[in-house]
């Protein structure tokens, strides 16, 4: 049993309190330790991923208690991939927070950041349903702190809404877990899978209620349509680096859906007949439609990206809801893509907001207009799913996977039409923000005279100090998207192997439940 598996949880759990207690008044030292921790996490995540390449499933028994009694951490391809995605996302986001000075606008940014990472990584690694709840709470409570980082009355009120919504979600999660426990007498995911598969057919009503409640909880996290209301206000009002990190949080919901509904309530389990896919697919289609209409209708760049995140969750959940290995492989590829894209666009939105305010209306040219416009252009291409970036590959894979499904024409129509609407919305936003600025007739709005945005229209003469690190971070995310496109073949091979592993849960169950 290797102890490397628990390191992604222990390391931030140690660095966070250390930052809080030992170096709380040294912002430079905090930055150093925070970056060092994230770099180390990246190295650990790569090592963990290489270990799963041969298809082995590693189990870490906490306290060496045998599986159904103790808590286990499980490392399979899916969790290794999600862990690596989280750490890869965390590094540029952290660099951006430092480069743009966001981390010094309130207290305890770095400590909260570490706790947030601990919760997310723990949720991806755990093999116990109640432990999943605990890690959800860890990541949520850190996210509450990060969400209101920097203060301001609007952000605080958006934060209160976000917290209340998630507290209701947590209550639902507990009720779902209680229902599952009362029927099966276990909360270990592998053990749950065994018990659920052998339940007598006449005793299934309670477990079906539990399964649907659980789906509801994960749907709240994943911002599926009737439950998505928390997302636009929260993400648009959160500090940009935090919103970029939150791009992985909706994926935690998607991950939990994939995990529970392939392992415990898999497509072959009679109890789970017609539970997930039948509900999830229409909801996902509506999510995608609502997200893209939101992109077209919004008047503010932060909300624009938030609706983009909702739309990409819609596409992702369409692929998940099909519940076939091919579709899940496509979904996993799209997960990586949409996480990086949403994060990139949130950072670009912040670059814009810092310079000219977030409203989608003509304002004078801002400093570094061209550079930011290029980043926005690349991000928009990725989000809309146009070639040459990975969004195109991702959407193509999702549509290809839908080919055998009864809903195929609806799915194709919705994906293609919403892509068009997204392109229209993003080009409208891009031309208003970046091109209209060159129109000489545009005068600065009166309310912003005191800021230096209202200076004459020659950015070369009055350059702002270049926040180099912030641009490095944004370009790093873009480079990630390019890599994802160039290496689409190998990555797809990996996600296909991951999906194959997910749809053969016997290996997982056996690895967890065997005696050490």
């Amino acid at each position: 049993m290797s102890h490397l598996i628990i390191l992604p949880i222990v390391l931030p759990a140690l660095v966070g309190p250390f930052i809080l207690m030992a170096i709380r008044f040294h912002s430079d030292l905090q930055r150093v330790f925070s970056i060092a921790s994230v770099v180390l996490l990246n190295l650990i995540a790569v090592t963990l991923l290489t270990r799963t390449l041969d298809g082995s499933i590693e189990v870490y028994r906490l306290g060496d208690w045998p599986a159904p009694f103790g808590i286990v951490l499980v490392l399979d391809r899916l969790s290794a991939m999600m862990v690596l995605l989280t750490t890869v996302l965390a590094l540029p986001v952290l660099l951006y927070a430092i480069g743009s000075g966001w981390d010094t606008r309130g207290r305890h940014f770095h400590a909260l950041f570490q706790f947030q990472l601990m919760g997310i990584l723990g949720a991806f690694l755990t093999g116990d349903a109640f432990n999943l709840f605990v890690f959800f709470e860890v990541l949520l409570i850190a996210s509450y702190g990060l969400m209101i980082h920097g203060g301001g009355s609007v952000r605080l009120r958006a934060g209160v809404q976000y917290v209340v919504y998630n507290l209701i979600g947590s209550s639902l999660f507990l009720i779902a877990l209680g229902t599952l426990y009362s029927v099966t007498g276990t909360l270990n995911m592998a053990d749950l899978a065994v018990r659920v598969a052998t339940l007598p057919a006449e005793d299934t009503s309670l477990i079906r209620v539990g399964a649907v409640l659980l789906l509801l909880v994960f749907a709240i996290k994943a911002a599926v349509l009737p439950l998505h209301f928390w997302l636009p206000a929260s993400y648009a009002n959160a500090p940009a680096p935090v919103a970029a990190l939150f791009a992985i949080m909706t994926k935690v919901g998607a991950y939990a859906i994939i995990r529970m509904y392939t392992l415990v309530f898999g497509p072959d389990v009679p109890v789970a007949e017609g539970l997930a896919g039948d509900w999830l697919l229409p909801a996902a289609l509506l999510t995608l439609a609502a997200g893209s209409i939101g992109i077209l209708g919004t008047r503010e760049i932060g909300r624009l990206v938030a609706f983009g995140a909702i739309a990409s969750m819609g596409t992702l959940l369409i692929a998940i809801a099909l519940f076939t290995p091919q579709a899940t492989a496509a979904a996993l590829y799209y997960t990586i893509h949409s996480t990086l894209t949403a994060a990139l666009l949130f950072l670009v939105a912040d670059l814009v907001m810092e310079r000219r305010g977030g409203a989608l209306s003509p304002r004078p040219v801002m400093p570094q207009n061209g550079l930011i416009a290029a980043l926005f252009f690349a991000g928009a291409i990725a989000m809309a799913g146009m070639p040459p970036l990975s969004g195109f590959v991702g959407k193509l894979l999702v549509m290809d996977a839908a080919r055998g499904d009864a809903w195929v024409w609806t799915i194709w129509a919705v994906i293609l039409i919403t892509s068009l609407i997204t392109i229209m919305g993003l080009s409208r936003a891009g031309s208003l923000v970046f091109w209209k600025a060159h129109d000489r007739s545009v005068t600065p709005p009166e309310t912003e005279e005191e800021t230096d945005i209202g200076q004459p229209l020659t950015p070369e003469l009055a350059p702002e100090p270049v926040p180099g690190l912030a641009f490095v971070a944004a370009f790093a995310l873009l480079a990630g998207l390019v890599l994802l496109t160039v290496l689409a073949g190998p990555i797809l091979k990996f996600t296909e192997a991951t999906a194959a592993q997910l749809y053969a849960p016997a290996d997982y169950i056996q690895s967890v439940l065997q005696r050490p």
Binding site: V154, I168, T179, G358
Partner: protein, 117 residues
């Protein structure tokens, strides 16, 4: 006993949901607390109701026992909901002090000014 527990869970949940749907933050927070009490009672009942039984297996005598795991789960849930209530109270309080208004919904002026907060 079953009737008492079930109706307690039901009434607490109903009251909690009613209060959560109110417009001011204070009733909403009270509603969240009620809901978490209901959830705790519900979790407690998932190990089946057993009166006056120890939560320990006794291998020397044939005596009944009650399932210890839900008790541990309830303990965790209580701690977490306690911490969360404290957090949401502090946030609601600072939101109220910052905007002089404890409505939970966003007003139109908030949505307009949301960009530069």
């Amino acid at each position: 006993m079953e009737l008492l527990l079930a109706s307690a869970v039901g009434i607490l949940t109903a009251g909690g949901i009613y209060l959560i749907l109110r417009q001011r933050t204070f009733p909403v927070i009270i509603g969240l607390s009620l809901l978490s009490y209901a959830v705790n009672l519900f979790l407690f009942a998932t190990g089946r109701l057993a009166l006056n039984q120890p939560p320990i297996l006794n291998k020397y005598a044939e005596v009944g026992y009650t399932d210890p795991l839900p008790q541990a789960l309830v303990l965790t849930a209580i701690v977490i909901s306690f911490g969360m209530t404290a957090v949401v109270l502090m946030m609601a309080l600072s939101a109220y002090l910052a905007s002089k208004d404890d409505r939970i919904d966003m007003t139109d002026s908030d949505a307009q000014g949301g960009e530069d907060a």
